[in-house]
Structure formats: C-alpha cells, structure tokens
Amino acid sequence: MKKFAERRWCALALLTALLVAAAPWGWAQTGAAKSEVKSDDQSTSAVPQMPHFRFENFTTANGLPDNHVYSVLVDGDRIWAGTNNGLGLYENGKWKTFNKQDGLAHQAVLSLALDKRTGDVWAGTMGGLSRISGGRIVSYTQLNSGLSNDVVYGVSVEGENVWVATASGACRLNLRDGQWSLYNERNTPMREIWAYGVSAAADKVYFAIWGAGLLEYNQKTGVWDKYEDPDDETEIVLFKDQGLVHDIVSSVSYVDSIAWVSTYFGDSRYDGRYWHNFMTKDSGLPSNFTNFVKGMDAHRAWFCTDKGLAYYDGTNWAVYTRSLTTHKPVMTVRDAKGKVTDIPVSTGPAHNYMLGIDFQGGDIWVATAEGLSHGILQR
C-alpha cells in the first residue's frame, strides 16, 4: 500500500510538472528513443504510406484558453479543448471559453466525452464533472451529487450511462433515473482506487487504474474482472505478450472489441483472449511513457507519449514529433521489418508531450503541453 502511495506522489509530481510546464520542449530532452535506421538517403518507394499532416497549432496567442491542453474532443465541425484554464470551443474559426463563472465545475478540464445521441459534452475536471448541453452547463461534485470524487480523470458515455474515472474509484451516473453507482475496493477487484481513464461500450466497460492494471466490467453479466501485469510490479517484461505490460495504466480505449491500453512503461492491445504489448524496443513507439491511447478500430491506434505522437496501422508505425535538439518537426515511418525512414515535413505538433487525441475525418487534433495541434491530412 505504501508503494502505491508513493506512486501517487510520483504521478502527482508529474501532473504538477505539467501544470508548471517546464521549458518548452524540455520534456523531450530525457531518455529519448533513438530511431533504428536513418533513411534520408533511401528511396521512399518502399516506405509504407502513412498519413502525412500539415500541422496548425493553437495557443493562447490565437485564442486557445490556455496552452496546457489535457484533452480534446471532436464533435463534427466543433472542437472542444480541455485546458488548464477553461474549456475551449473552436467553432467557425473562433475560440470561446467556458469557465467556472459559466458553471463549469473547475477550470482545469482533464477529460472529455461526447454523448453522440444528444450532442451533450461531458467534461471531467479537477473539481467535478460537468455536462455541457445546448450551451448550459450542469456540474456535479462530490458535495452536491453522488460523484465519488471531484478529481475526474476520465469520462465515457454509453447509452443512458455516464461512466466516470476519479481519484476515488469509478462511478456510473444513470441519466434516466439520476442514480449514482460507485465502484471501489469494496465492491470490485479494484486493488487501487485511482481510476485514470475509462472507455465504455455496449458490452464492456474498461477502467484504467493507475497502479492496479485494467479493470473490466461486463455490462451483460454485471461481473467485474481485472488484468494486472503478470510480472507484478516490476518495470521489466519477463515474457512478451504474457499479459498487460504494466500496472500503471494511464488510459484505455475500447473499440471493435479490442482494448488498447497505455501505461507509463509501454502499451498493450487486448482482444479478450490474447495480449500484444508494444515497447520502444520492439515497436515504433518513441517512448514507453504513454499518457493516452485512442483506437481507431481493432487494428489501428494512436499513442500520445512524452516524446511525440505515434500511429500504428496494425503493421507499420509513424511518429510525429519534433527534434530534441533543433525542435524542428520530424516524421518517421517504421515498417514491419523495423526499418525507420525519415519523412521530410515542414510542420509538426505544438509539443512533444502529448496528452490526448481525437479524429475529424482524416484530420487529427492533438492535446499537448504547449498547445493544441490540428493535423490536416495531406495524403
């Protein structure tokens, strides 16, 4: 238990560091992964075709509420950015900011989710959970509602239920009857109650538990299950693909019956039976420290790490980052054989420390520690 308490402080320190935002690009200076093959001088004809973006970056200079962007959500033509100082809405070329005076639970917006049926946006904040509906904000806190804790790291909407990951366990708000159900160490196999992320679908709900692996709720049977690092609490992997890569799980994305899981020591893909792990040593990941993962489908996913953004298409990898030394934009592609090719690019994401991503057709929107990046698909 003490060990986990220490880990909490460790994560809190990371969060604090993010809030104070170390010198620009400073995050990328430590422990950088080195690409295997430089490919500037090689023909690109054999290079896998991976998405190529022109990045447009938003900061406070062009209307973003704050440069520290924790989360991003695409809703058609509208882009929501959860920042350290308010919830930004980008619409018709302009930013609008929602803050506490508008009813937002807290100015630091850590997570976002869209209720596709109603168009409502749910925001997990450092001070509660907010629902933005037709311009009105309704906020739930641990004092005025059944919400278990005000620090809401993750939120996901499925059907009539809003699933919430908090610093004191998981919650479910039933929108039809208004009832809150709390899940913690007393009624689930949740060894730790620091829930960092949640992804809900009609059949299963997954929670990323910081320090206690992945928690699964079967919506049909009502049964909870847990997945932890089979190597226990070590930062090494004794047997590849034996199970979840690490217990410090930062996020989860459940799509097409596949759970994509990010940890601070690599990432995992779980198909309900088999695990496949990704680490810098055997994948195209630029770093094993992944803050956020979002699956596109059963085979493709995006990984937001502390050293850039990685895209996996089921075989090949692309990384979008900036040089650690020159800060110039960099794109690399790694094929199935491990050959890495530099792709000339003129634009790059706002910062290498990535915290969230969402998709707008072929475009991507990326939350970073120093701005919001819009990757406009070129080919």
Binding site: T118, S133, G134, S139, N144, G146, L175, L182
Partner: protein, 643 residues
C-alpha cells in the same frame, strides 16, 4: 382610494364568480352570447371535467378538450359544440398535441407516466406508450419521425419513435420541463419549464440567487438541444407560441420577487407577470409586463397568436380573464423605448397600457386556448368551472360558453380549489395560493416572507402534497393548524387585502388537506427496495454508528423523521441555523416525495439532498452521518428518494 376601488372591484369579481357558479349550476351562460351545452349525448362524468387544454382539428371541424380531472378527451363539434365523443385516457392528463397529419392525438398522463395515442378517425386510444416521470407537453416533428415529450419531474425531454413509441433518448431540459411548441416551419421545438433551474455550484449565496429559467430550443430533425434562451429572474414558465411567420415567439411566465419581503405586496413586492418575446421581430429576447398600475395579470398561462399576427392572446389563470395584445403596438413599444440592460421592462407597470387592448372576463382558472383557422373565434378552457369560453375576436367579448358535462353542484372541495387558484383576495389581484404553489405543488424558490428586514428569515417553499395532519405548520412550527396558516397568516402577510369568510377558508383548508402525494417514481413496482435502497434504509434506521458507538435518539434519522410521512412534527435544532435566522429551531419536515423538492433545509441553502450532509452537517447534529463513506451516503439518499 386604491383600496376602495380595489374592494369594489373585488366585490364585482366575487359577484361575477357567484354568477358563474350559478351559471354552472343552472346551465345558464353569461354574456350576450348564445347558451350551449356539451352535455348532450355525453355520459355523466364521475368528477369535474376540469378542461385544461384545447385544440382544433386541422380542418377546424372538431374541438379536442383535454379534461384533467375526469381523465378524458372530450371531442366537440366545432360548429354546434355538441359532444361527438368522450375518450378516456390516463390519470391526470396534462398535455395534448396532434400528429403532423392530424391522424393521431397524443395525450400525456402525468400520474401514469404514459402517453395515450388516439386515432382521430376512430376516436379511440390505439396505444399507450411509457414515457418519463410526469409527462406534460408533447409534440410530433413535421416528418412524423419523432414524438417529443416533456417530463416535468425528470426535467428532460423524451424522444420517442413516432411509430413504435420506443424511446430513443432523453434531452436535458430545464427544471420542470412542461410545455412544448413546434415552430411553424417545423425546424425548432421550444420547451418551457415551471421551476427555475438549479442554482450553479459556483453561485453564492445559494438561497439569495436570482432565479434563472430557459427556453430550450431543440432541432426537430436532429432531436438535439441546440440553444437555450436564458430567462433571467424568471421562475414559472408556461405556454410558448410562435407567430405563423416564425418571426415572433412568446412565453407566459412569472417573474417572482422572492428576494425582498413578500410583506411588501402593496409595493409590488411579490410578482410581475410577464411575457418574454423572442425571434427576429425583437432581436434579443425581451421581457414585457402584463400587469397594470393597479391591477395585476395574475398567473398567465396560455398564449396564442392570431393567424395574421395582429394579436396575441394570453389567459390569466388567477385573474379569470384573457388579455388581448395588439402585436403592432407591442413591437412599436419595444422598439421605441430604450431597452433596459437587463432586457426586461417588467418593472414598468405603465408599459402594458401601450399594447394590452382588452381584458376579457372568462371562467375560473382559464388555461389552454386555441384559435379557429380564420382567427375569428378564440376558445378558452376554464379549468375550474368546467366550461369553454368562445370569444368573438372581432368584438373581444365572450360570444358563448360551452358547459362541459359533469357534476351539477359545486362541492366544498371544488370551492376550495377555486379559492386556491384565484388572485381575487390579494391586493390588486396580485397573487393566489397557486402563484407559489404552482399546480398545487411548489415553485422551487426560497422566499423572504416576513417584514423583518431584507434578507432575514429566508424560507424554502414547501410542497403541499399530503400535508394534512402535519400540524404545526411553517418551518418554525409557528402556526398551530391549517386554518391559521391559510387564514390570518396568509391574509396578513400575503394578501394585504381582504379576509376570507369562514366558509371559504374552511373550503380552502379542505382542498389543501385533500391534496395527495404523487406516485413516487423511485419505488420499484410492488414496493420492494433495490439493494442500494435497502442499504440506505439500514443506515436510516441504525442506532449505532460504524464504530459501534450508540447514536443518541435525537441523532438518528428515524427518530425525528418517523412515521409514514417521515416526521414527528416536533421542533429541533439540527445545526442549520444561519446568521440571518431569527430562531434556530425548526420543525421536522415531512419526507413525502422529498426527491422532488430541492432546494433543501429551512432556508433552501442546500441545493441537493447530498449537500444537507456534505456541507451543512459538520457537527453531526442533523443525524450521525460523518462516519459514512461516500457510497454509504449515496445509499442513504437512494432510500430517502423512495419516501
């Protein structure tokens, strides 16, 4: 002088009421119009019809009259006013709308949580669909894809498949979602709400915050809320109408002045009754008063535009009349006068003289209204004397009155209900019991009632359900019985005008004592409790805390909140006294339907049930709760919601 004038007016009004009662008794119709009865051919109703809403068929041949108390839809021939059919629906129906092609009539049943679907050719209910808690307003989109239902208790709008009735989703509405209207182009649905929205967690102080309501604007095709028109300082909002050209919308509403002592009624201190106008004709929404300098337009409810937008008609539920507003003059007034920063002209009691052209006396508690296709006849449902007034819009007089079938005598209970809803007894006809106890419930507001200084002794407005045998009354238990509460206290502090006679007071008390509790939606069918509710009940009834320490009697939930209504009717100090309170002890409130009655505590300082214990019980004086975990507190609240 005003008082004298007022008294003479009151006498005249009382006389009018008596005449109306006589008319109801003997089938005589007031005014110069013809006498018509819709009783012929209809079976004798078991209760007063209490017509609440009224609609014309698309071809103008039929009148559909929604009768709240008798639980049916009366179908009348729109020319002869003869009854064509009586169609029984569910309990306490409230809302009614025709489908896009007029082949179906939808009726919401508030006590059954259902929607009756009536085939307008067969004039029979063909389906009954389950909806949300206390369904009220209803509309179908013009494509016939969705049926939208405003659920008053769950404060949302259910979106149903228009063919199967299967619920697709629910949209977040304001608190007390009740009335819906489709825009003439069919693109937008406007929703209004009878309670103000919950106070934001960031607003302080909670119980001294100006109420805010809204018009929820729904994209009918996408079935999503796309906008919310804010209604600042507005609490109860009723019908909404949009002109045929789609350029002007209007909602009928109450503008409460709950932050200043109600005892200042003679200074205009209780309500302004207003409309908020919206749409291209006015630009930004604007609030305009209906009241006159010395005569209030109490409890506006129904609004309807003339087909050519020449007039706007408003029923006044507490003033037994209909206002006719000249729309051109209204727009001229709005555009000719500098718009206040608040967007409201509500404080200008001289304003209405610029646009209100007639005040037409009708029956008791007029509610819904409908215009004939040519705009020449205006039908008004007089809820509390079971009649329909037919107004000739050329002369702006009642041309005829249709008496609906029902009991031939007016019972004491019925007289009590009539007294409850009229504003005749208050100074300048400003308020009635139902101004604050909307639809005999509550208004979701906290009020500064007593003349002891501004901001002192703030009290939450209690719901009236199931209040018989709960003496003493008032939060401080200062009134020994209902006759005292409703008689001298009300007359002194509220009406500031004339007293009830003993018989009328007795009737009023009888009515209030008769008000039942609505069905509790948190209880399972059959009454059994869910696992969470059972756990909560154990906490509610426990006598030792989680550390095994005995809980003193007065610190047990079940000790003070005892009995079937959850009150021992005694006075306690539960640590909720505020610096603004004169006293520190309060009567144990009943728990009946407690889930519906936010805000909580005597002064409404707790926005939610949770806040009673997370914020206002630091010393465990309001029950031993500080040993509970968050999920245990949630369980306790789940149990309380079943009471």
């Amino acid at each position: 002088m005003n008082r004298i004038l007022h008294n003479s007016r009151v006498q005249a009004c009382v006389a009018a009421v008596l005449c109306a009662l006589a008319a109801a008794l003997f089938g005589v119709v007031l005014g110069t119009g013809r006498s018509v009865s819709a009783a012929a051919g209809a079976s004798e109703a078991q209760d007063y019809a209490s017509p609440l809403e009224i609609l014309l068929s698309p071809d103008g041949a039929r009148l559909y009259v929604l009768c709240q108390r008798s639980g049916d839809v009366r179908v009348l021939d729109a020319a002869s006013y003869a009854t064509v059919a009586n169609i029984p629906v569910g309990r306490e129906p409230r809302g009614m709308a025709l489908s896009h092609n007029g082949d179906r009539l939808f009726v919401t049943n508030t006590w059954d949580d259902t929607l009756s679907v009536i085939d307008t050719r067969a004039l029979a209910v063909t389906a009954t669909w389950g909806v949300g808690a206390e369904p009220s307003g209803v509309v179908e989109d013009p494509a016939g894809k969705y049926v939208f239902v405003a659920n008053r208790i769950s404060s949302d709008i259910a979106v149903l498949d228009a063919q199967t009735g299967e619920e697709q989703k629910r949209l977040l509405a304001g608190r007390g979602a009740s009335y819906l209207t489709l825009s003439p182009d069919g693109k937008r649905i406007y929703a209004t709400h009878i309670y103000p929205n919950p106070v934001s967690p960031n607003a302080e102080p909670v119980n001294r915050t100006v109420p805010e309501s809204e018009i929820s604007v729904i994209d009918a095709e996408r079935a999503e809320v796309v906008d919310r028109i804010p209604l600042h300082a507005i609490a109860g909002v009723f019908h909404v109408a949009v002109s045929a050209d789609g350029r002007l919308g209007a909602v009928a509403e109450y503008h409460p002045k709950n932050l200043v002592p109600l005892a200042h009624l003679e200074h205009g201190g209780a309500f302004a009754y207003t409309l908020t106008l919206f749409g291209a004709d006015v630009g930004k929404p604007v609030e305009i008063p209906l009241d006159e300098l010395d005569r209030y337009a109490s409890q506006p409810f129904g609004v309807a535009f003339a087909p050519d937008k020449s007039r706007l008609y408003v029923t006044l539920g507490g003033s037994e009349s209909v206002l006719a507003i000249d729309v051109a003059r209204l727009l001229r007034f709005i555009h000719a006068h500098p718009r206040p920063a608040s967007g409201s002209f509500a404080q200008d009691l001289s304003a209405s003289g610029n646009y209100v052209t007639a005040r037409i006396p009708v029956g008791l508690n007029p509610r819904g209204l409908a215009l004939s296709g040519d705009g020449r006849r205006l039908f008004v449902a007089n809820r509390l004397d079971d009649s329909i007034s037919v107004i000739d819009t050329g002369s702006l007089r009642v041309a005829s009155t249709i008496a609906l079938a029902g009991p031939k005598t007016i019972s004491e209970l019925r007289r009590g209900e009539q007294t409850f809803y009229t504003a005749h007894y208050s100074f300048q006809g400003q308020i009635g019991c139902s101004s604050c106890h909307i639809d005999s419930t509550f208004d979701g507001l906290t009020w500064d009632l007593e003349p002891d200084g501004f901001g002192r002794d703030i009290v939450d407005n209690k719901m009236l359900e199931d209040v018989k045998d709960l003496a003493p009354y008032k939060w401080n238990g200062g009134n020994p019985n209902l006759p005292t509460e409703c008689g001298p206290r009300t007359e002194k502090y509220f009406w500031r005008s004339e007293n009830y006679d003993n018989l009328r007071l007795a009737d009023l008390v009888l009515y209030i004592r008769s008000l039942p509790a609505r069905p509790n939606r948190e209880r399972q069918p059959g009454g059994e409790l869910t696992a969470a509710q059972e756990r909560g009940q154990v906490i509610f009834e426990r006598d030792v805390d989680k550390f095994g320490k005995p809980i003193p009697l007065e610190n047990r939930c079940s000790y003070c909140h005892s009995g079937p209504k959850g009150t021992d009717r005694k006075i306690f100090d539960v640590g909720t006294h505020k610096a603004t309170d004169t006293g520190g002890v309060f009567k144990t409130p009943q728990l009946t339907n407690i889930a519906l009655t936010a805000p909580y505590l005597h002064d409404g300082s707790a926005r939610t049930l949770e806040e009673i214990w997370t914020i206002y019980n630091p010393d465990d004086k309001h029950g031993r709760t500080n040993d509970l975990t968050k999920d245990e507190l949630n369980d306790l609240i789940e149990y309380l919601r079943t009471r």
